[in-house]
């Protein structure tokens, strides 16, 4: 009797499940999501150096200008052309995403570090929309423009034994940015950081960094120092 009742219940639920689930085919995945717009990636000429920030495809997500987010994408940022590429599995094609259609993007490095980029209008030299990496997000952001330039170098022979005199060279630029005050460029050293504050604050900041045993030698230590200074509420001079 018990088994009969249990069977009856299972049958009842199975019938309900069948009518709801198999009533029609499931919809295409992401059918109502915003579509990625772009153009085919044309490979860059091969020279010494790397034109990409990340040479391999990394998992990441993009944020459209509408605010909608598309994730589970494989991304690669071209520092040379300041453009973001994604790999379209269905078309097996590398596509350069329209810059105007995005607010920004982020991807996760192999070591688990998440790197966030934001599209902002740069009103300084070489005006235009640029992708900036957000090193520190706050009232004043610390941004990095991960630029790679093609520069003339002493002639060298590449792997195919062809003589070349051009090379991809990193030329990263750093800025403090506030939507109200704009950009203020900065170098990754203590002097440059201190120069962004008034004389009175400079002494206190020096003390603060010393107390916390921070020595600015590279990008990471600069970010750490800036976060600490920002937390203490020092006013930056643009």
């Amino acid at each position: 009797m018990n088994i009969r009742i249990i069977l009856l219940i299972i049958l009842f639920h199975a019938a309900g499940f069948a009518t709801t689930v198999f009533a029609q085919e499931p919809l295409n995945p992401n059918w109502d999501a915003e579509k990625i717009k772009g153009t085919r990636y044309i490979p860059y000429p091969i020279y010494e150096g790397v034109p990409f920030l990340n040479d391999s495809w990394l998992p990441g997500k993009i944020e459209f200008a509408s605010g909608e987010i598309a994730d589970s994408l494989y991304l690669r940022y071209s520092s040379f052309k300041d453009e973001i590429l994604y790999y379209n599995k269905a078309l097996t094609t590398q596509i350069v995403i329209d810059k105007a259609s995005l607010n920004g993007f982020s991807f996760t490095e192999k070591d688990g570090i998440n790197r966030v980029f934001r599209r902002l209008y740069f009103d300084g030299f070489m005006k235009g929309e640029r992708y900036f990496e957000v090193l520190s997000d706050g009232e004043t952001d610390l941004l990095a423009y991960r630029k790679v330039n093609l520069i003339t170098v002493s002639p060298y022979k590449d792997q195919q034994n062809i003589l070349k005199n051009l090379s991809y060279s990193q030329n990263y630029l750093y800025y403090f940015y506030s939507p109200e005050k704009g950009y203020s460029s900065v170098r990754m050293n203590l002097g440059a950081l201190l120069s962004k504050f008034d004389k009175v604050s400079q002494k206190t900041i020096k003390k603060l960094l010393r107390k916390n045993r921070i020595k600015i030698t590279d990008e990471f230590s600069f970010i750490y120092a800036w976060k600490l200074v920002e937390k203490e509420g020092f006013a930056l001079i643009f």
Partner: protein, 540 residues
């Protein structure tokens, strides 16, 4: 053993009730119960809290079960409001105004009985009233915690009304969303009600949590079977055309989301066969739910008072129509700019043929004005190729060809287009990607007429005027500027989004219409209970 049987039965009952729709808090109200064709019906709907839909449908069905008209309204904070323009041609009789959500439309609708008299026939062809019977009324609870003060029992025509609605603090904390405050003429001989109409006959649609969903099926015309793997396009022509695509599965179904469209829009749904010989047929689903079965009606004689009031209402409306007193403004919606540049990309070059010498056809235009576009017309079989600037050679395939933003494949459509027909031509000389679609170059032709008359109509292309989310009406009080024109409003005050406050002031004027009027305050509590308070007065 008995215990086990009881537990089993209890489980079955729980399982069954789990599938039924939660009905609490679903409320539907109209400004009046009796209308004349050509008038506007205003409505306020409280939608169930547990339903994530963004769209609620409001339509009108006659007693034969034929849907007459309908609108789709945007739900904000589990409430919506809108209006239906009653067509002039409606015959006199009892109609059902229905409110429902697409994902539960098969099981649950709220019906509201309304009477509509034809403006020209009146009640000449009507001898009896048909009233809904045997249905449970959607009961609202009268509350004493809302008091309507300073509203007198009689007013003179064209006089000022100043009323105060007082809401107790304990109730204020319980109110969910906005209140509906309405002041309109009543018809004592036709006391309409709302009913919950539950049936399992219709089919529930998809949850429209983002916006209106346009759906349909593609069938193979030869086999009549659903066609799989067909790419269906939806284009909404505009200065920057809207574009979507959907690849059908085995069931041939397709779906498009109309997220940020308001008011009337033109839309084109089309598909192309996988092979040139494959012929397809697109069938679009109705935007509204089927009329389905209707409740039972009983016949009642028409009271004399009702007849008299109807003929008065017809005269009133005729006068209002003559003096254009029925117009109201529509709220402008700040539409989110979704597309900054066309989906087919920024053009490599734009050519305006009007700036050059008149050319008779597209062969001449392409040859003279469109560098990088190769047009050939051998044996009346035209081909078109676009140069790929990046690779410095021509794409082997036909590019995406658009007329006023709408894709076409039949090049014969454009071959006779000369300077007089073309406003501009945009050409993209690179490989373009949109989602999983690839365009080997683009030639977008914008015509001077922009009437889409060049588009070949077939079973594979449906052109339609879509009524998307209704724009909100601004129902401010009518101001009759000329003193010699009588003010003939029957709806004196309508505010479907009144902020719940301890004191709400109502200021308005009576019109030149005499009769019974009612001030009603309606709302919904957080527990889903629909409440109201009302006060009647007479205008002499």
């Amino acid at each position: 053993m008995k215990k086990k049987i009881i537990i089993s039965l209890f489980l079955i009952v729980v399982a069954m009730t789990g599938n039924t729709q939660e009905k609490s808090g679903f409320g539907f109200y109209t400004d009046r119960d009796v209308y004349v064709s050509g008038e506007t019906l205003f409505a306020k709907i409280f939608t169930p809290e547990d339903n994530p839909a963004r769209i609620v449908y409001l339509d009108l069905v006659n007693h034969y079960g034929v849907r007459v008209t309908g609108v789709s309204l945007e739900i904000k904070s589990n409430q919506a409001n809108g209006f239906i323009q009653l067509p002039d041609s409606l015959g006199s009789g009892n109609y059902m105004a229905r409110a429902y959500l697409k994902n539960t439309s098969g099981k649950l609708k709220i019906l509201r009985e309304v009477w509509i008299s034809n403006r020209f026939d009146g009640l000449e062809k009507t001898s009896q009233l048909r009233r809904v019977t045997g249905l449970e009324k959607n009961q609202d609870k009268i509350t004493e915690q809302i008091e309507i003060e300073y509203l007198e029992t009689t007013y003179q025509t064209n006089s000022n009304i100043g009323a105060v609605i007082k809401i107790e603090e304990t109730l204020l904390n319980e109110i969910d969303g906005n209140l509906l405050v309405s002041l309109a003429q009543t018809e004592p001989s036709f006391d309409a009600a709302s009913f919950i109409w539950s049936s399992d006959q219709g089919k529930d649609g998809i949850t429209e949590n983002k916006g209106i969903i346009l759906s349909g099926t593609v069938n193979d015309r030869k086999t009549l079977e659903p066609a799989a793997g067909i790419t269906v396009y939806l284009t909404i022509p505009d200065s920057v055309p809207g574009f979507q695509y959907y690849q059908t599965r085995k069931d041939g179904r397709f779906y498009f989301l109309l997220e940020d469209y308001f008011g009337a829009v033109q839309a084109v749904v089309q598909c192309f066969g996988i092979t040139p010989t494959q012929r397809l047929k697109i069938t679009l689903d109705g935007l509204f739910a089927d009329a389905g079965t209707l409740p039972e009606f009983s016949q009642q004689p028409i009271p004399e008072e009702f007849k008299h009031n109807i003929s008065r209402n017809i005269d009133v409306l005729t006068f209002r129509k003559i003096f254009s007193q029925d117009k109201f403004k529509l709220e402008q919606v700040a539409i989110k700019q979704k597309e900054i540049s066309p989906y087919y990309g920024n053009p490599t070059r734009t050519v305006d043929p009007q700036l050059f010498i008149d050319l008779p056809d597209f062969t001449e235009i392409s040859r003279e004005l469109l560098p990088g576009v190769k047009w050939r017309n051998y044996n009346n079989e035209p081909t078109l190729q676009v140069i790929n600037n990046n690779m410095h050679n021509y794409f082997a395939e036909n590019p995406l060809i658009l007329i006023d933003g709408i894709p076409i494949r039949d090049l014969n459509v454009i071959k006779d287009m000369g300077t007089a027909d073309i406003d501009r031509v945009e050409i993209c000389q690179y490989e373009r990607y949109y989602g999983d679609l690839r365009f080997p170059g683009v030639v977008a032709i914008y015509t001077t007429k922009t009437d889409y008359s060049l588009l070949p109509t077939s079973d594979q292309l449906i052109r339609m005027d879509l009524e998307t989310i209704q724009l909100k009406a601004i129902t401010s009080e009518n101001v009759i500027s000329e003193s010699n024109i009588p003010d003939l409003r029957q709806l004196i005050y309508w505010n479907p989004l009144a902020e719940p406050k301890s004191t709400i002031f109502i200021k308005c004027n009576t019109s030149a219409i005499a009769g019974q009027f009612k001030l009603i305050v309606r709302g919904r509590l957080k527990n889903g209970t629909l409440i109201f308070a009302e006060k009647q007065f007479e205008v002499k």
